[in-house]
C-alpha cells in the first residue's frame, strides 16, 4: 500500500518543510501520494508535483479547508487514509493539531516527531525534551506519523507527479475560523534557515533585538529567541526555539544571552555548529557550544556585525 503525505502550505506556496517530509516518507519504501488540502491552492499542487519520488498529488480544493481546521482536515485525511499503510505530516502546529484526530478516528496510535526511519514499521523519536531517544515499533495497520523535518534532508524538485482533484468536502458546524495575526518577516523561516541567531533574557529588552538584525541580514539568518525572551515580551512567541517552541537544526546556531536551559537545548542541540555569546562563563550553553565567547553582548554584537 502507498504512503499518504500531508502537504504544508499557505494556499499559495509550498513550505520548505515538505521537501524534508518527503525524504522521510521515501525511507519507508513505497509509492508516495501527496495531499494538498486547501482553498484555491492549485499553485501549491503544481509545486508539490515537482518533488522527487512522488507519484501522485491529490488536491482537495474547498472553502472548508482554507484555514486547515483540525475538525475538517481530520475527517478528510481519515477518510482518504484508510487506503494507505502510512499517513505522514510534518510536526508543525498544523500537523500536530489534526493528526492525532486522524489516529483516534482510525483507532491507531500516533508516533510523534520522528527523527529517523529504521524500517517501514520502526522509528526513532526523542522523549524527555530530547534527553532520551526512543526506538519504537508499530504493529498498527495504518501508521500515523508526524515528522521532525529538521532531522531529514530536502529532496530535489525534479519530479513530475500526476495531479488529481478529489471532491470531498468535510465541513463541520462546531468550529469556525475567526482571524489570524501572523508575524511578518522578510527573513528566512526559522525552521528552514541555514543560520539562526537567537536572543535570550540577556538581550534585556525588545529594542535590543535590533542588534541581532544586522547580523542576521549579513548571514541570511533567521532570528529566534528563548522562552525567557518571549515571556518577557521582547519578541513574539512564534520566534521561540525549544521543547515548547520550534525545533531547529541549522548549520550555524548563534545563542546570544541565552543560558541554555534543558528546554531550550531541546530545540537547537542538533545544530551543526553552535556559537554561544554570554557574559556568564558558567552558563550551561558553553558545555555544548562549539565556539564560546565570554563577554558583554552589547559590545560583542556590534563588533561581530562590523566584521562580517
Amino acid at each position: 500500500m502507498a504512503i499518504l503525505v500531508y502537504v504544508e502550505h499557505d494556499n499559495a506556496h509550498l513550505k520548505a518543510e515538505n521537501l524534508k517530509l518527503v525524504d522521510a516518507a521515501t525511507k519507508m519504501g513505497s509509492e508516495l501520494h501527496l495531499l494538498v488540502a486547501g482553498y484555491q491552492c492549485q499553485d501549491v499542487a503544481q509545486q508539490a508535483a515537482t518533488l522527487a519520488g512522488v507519484s501522485k498529488v491529490l488536491v482537495a480544493d474547498d472553502a472548508a479547508y482554507e484555514h486547515q481546521l483540525a475538525e475538517n482536515i481530520g475527517e478528510l485525511v481519515t477518510e482518504l487514509g484508510r487506503d494507505y499503510s502510512h499517513i505522514l505530516a510534518a510536526a508543525t502546529t498544523t500537523g500536530k493539531n489534526f493528526m492525532p484526530r486522524v489516529a483516534a478516528l482510525l483507532d491507531v496510535a500516533q508516533i510523534s516527531d520522528i527523527i529517523k526511519v529504521e524500517s517501514a514499521d520502526t522509528f526513532v523519536r526523542p522523549i524527555y525534551a530530547g534527553n532520551a531517544i526512543a526506538t519504537v515499533q508499530s504493529e498498527d495497520a495504518i501508521k500515523v506519523i508526524t515528522v521532525r523535518t529538521s532531522a531529514f534532508d530536502a529532496v530535489e524538485q525534479s519530479g513530475s507527479a500526476v495531479v488529481e482533484a478529489i471532491s470531498l468536502s468535510k465541513e463541520n458546524s462546531l468550529s469556525a475560523f475567526v482571524g489570524a495575526e501572523l508575524t511578518k518577516s522578510e527573513r528566512p523561516e526559522l525552521t528552514a534557515a541555514r543560520v539562526v541567531i537567537s536572543g535570550g533574557r540577556g538581550m534585556q529588552n525588545g529594542d535590543n533585538f535590533k542588534l541581532l538584525e544586522g547580523i542576521a541580514d549579513k548571514l541570511g539568518a533567521a532570528i529566534g529567541a528563548s522562552r525567557a525572551a518571549v515571556d518577557a515580551g521582547f519578541v513574539p512567541n512564534d520566534m521561540q526555539v525549544g521543547q515548547t517552541g520550534k525545533i531547529v537544526a541549522p548549520e550555524l546556531y548563534i545563542a546570544v544571552g541565552i543560558s541554555g536551559a534543558i528546554q531550550h537545548l531541546a530545540g537547537m542541540k542538533d545544530s551543526k555548529f553552535i556559537v554561544a555569546i554570554n557574559k556568564d562563563e558558567e552558563a550551561p550553553i558553553f558545555q555544548i557550544a562549539d565556539y564560546g565567547l565570554v563577554g558583554d553582548l552589547f559590545q560583542i554584537l556590534p563588533e561581530l556585525e562590523a566584521s562580517l
Binding site: 483540525a70 484526530r101 462546531l174 534543558i262
Partner: protein
C-alpha cells in the same frame, strides 16, 4: 458549567533524566515527580474561569498508579473541587488515555475539557486532540487565550506563523500552551483543605477499554553527546574560526 481537567504525574521539569543501562527506559526511581507543567496551566485556567463566575465545578482526573493521587491533591489545593483517580499500573499510550477520558466525559458531561498540550516526558502532544475526535467535539489546541461567551468558546492559538483564533461550540476540548497563564502556588491552608475534598478511585480495567497498545518500545538510549568546544578570546577569532574551521560563513 462543569470543567474537566485531566492532569498527569510526570518527572519534574528541572530534573536531568538518566537512561537505564539496559535501555528499557528512563530511570524514574527516586526522581522528583510533579504535575506536568502544561497540566498545571490547565488547572489554573479552570480555576480562573470559576473565579469569573463562568465555571461552577472543576473535576480533576488522573490516570496511573497510586502515586498520581498526589498530583490530584495538588490540583485540589489549587482550587479544583473533586478528584477522580483511574488506577492502573500499566503505562498507557495517548490513545488509551484518550479512550479512558472519553468514558469520563460521557459520565460527567463537562462543557469544557482543558488539558495540557503535551506532557514533558513522552512529548507526544496527542491526548487532547484524540479525546476531541473520540467524543466528536471541536478542539482549540495550543491555547494562549480562552474566552467563553454563551455557548461558544473563542480560543486564540499559538501557531507557527503567529496566532490564530477559532470559535468553538461548547462542549469543546482545549489544550493549553505555556503563555495561557501563570499558575498560582497552593497555600498551606488550601493544601490542608484539599485533603478533605472528595477523591474517587476507579480501576482502569473496569472501564471496558482495550488498554494494550500496538506500539512496542524497543529501546531507549541516551542521545549522542555533543563535545564541548573551545572558548575564543574575541570576535576576530570567532569569525576566523567560523570562516576557516567550521566553514559556515
Amino acid at each position: 458549567m462543569k470543567i474537566l481537567v485531566p492532569v498527569k504525574r510526570a518527572i519534574d521539569y528541572n530534573v536531568k533524566v538518566r537512561v537505564k543501562s539496559d535501555q528499557s527506559g528512563v530511570d524514574l526511581a527516586n526522581t522528583k515527580m510533579a504535575i506536568n507543567p502544561f497540566c498545571e496551566i490547565a488547572v489554573e485556567e479552570a480555576v480562573r474561569l470559576r473565579e469569573q463566575g463562568i465555571a461552577s465545578e472543576i473535576v480533576v482526573v488522573s490516570i496511573g498508579d497510586k502515586a498520581c493521587q498526589e498530583q490530584i491533591r495538588t490540583a485540589l489545593a489549587l482550587g479544583a473541587d473533586r478528584g477522580l483517580h483511574i488506577e492502573t499500573e500499566q503505562s498507557l499510550e495517548s490513545l488509551q488515555v484518550a479512550k479512558l477520558l472519553q468514558k469520563v466525559v460521557e459520565a460527567e458531561q463537562p462543557q469544557l475539557v482543558i488539558l495540557g498540550k503535551q506532557s514533558i516526558d513522552s512529548d507526544n502532544n496527542q491526548t487532547g486532540q484524540m479525546l476531541a475526535a473520540l467524543c466528536g467535539l471541536p478542539q482549540g489546541t495550543f491555547a494562549s487565550k480562552v474566552e467563553i461567551s454563551g455557548d461558544k468558546v473563542k480560543v486564540t492559538r499559538e501557531v507557527d506563523g503567529g496566532l490564530q483564533t477559532v470559535s468553538l461550540t461548547l462542549p469543546a476540548v482545549v489544550t493549553t500552551d505555556l503563555r495561557l497563564n501563570e499558575p498560582r502556588y497552593a497555600s498551606l491552608p488550601n493544601i490542608m483543605k484539599a485533603k478533605r475534598k472528595p477523591l474517587d478511585v476507579k480501576a482502569a480495567a473496569d472501564f471496558g477499554v482495550e488498554l494494550t497498545s500496538k506500539v512496542k518500545l524497543l529501546k531507549v538510549e541516551a542521545p549522542a553527546q555533543r563535545q564541548g568546544g573551545v572558548k575564543v578570546a574575541d570576535v576576530a577569532e570567532l569569525v576566523a574560526k567560523l570562516k576557516n574551521e567550521a566553514k559556515v560563513i
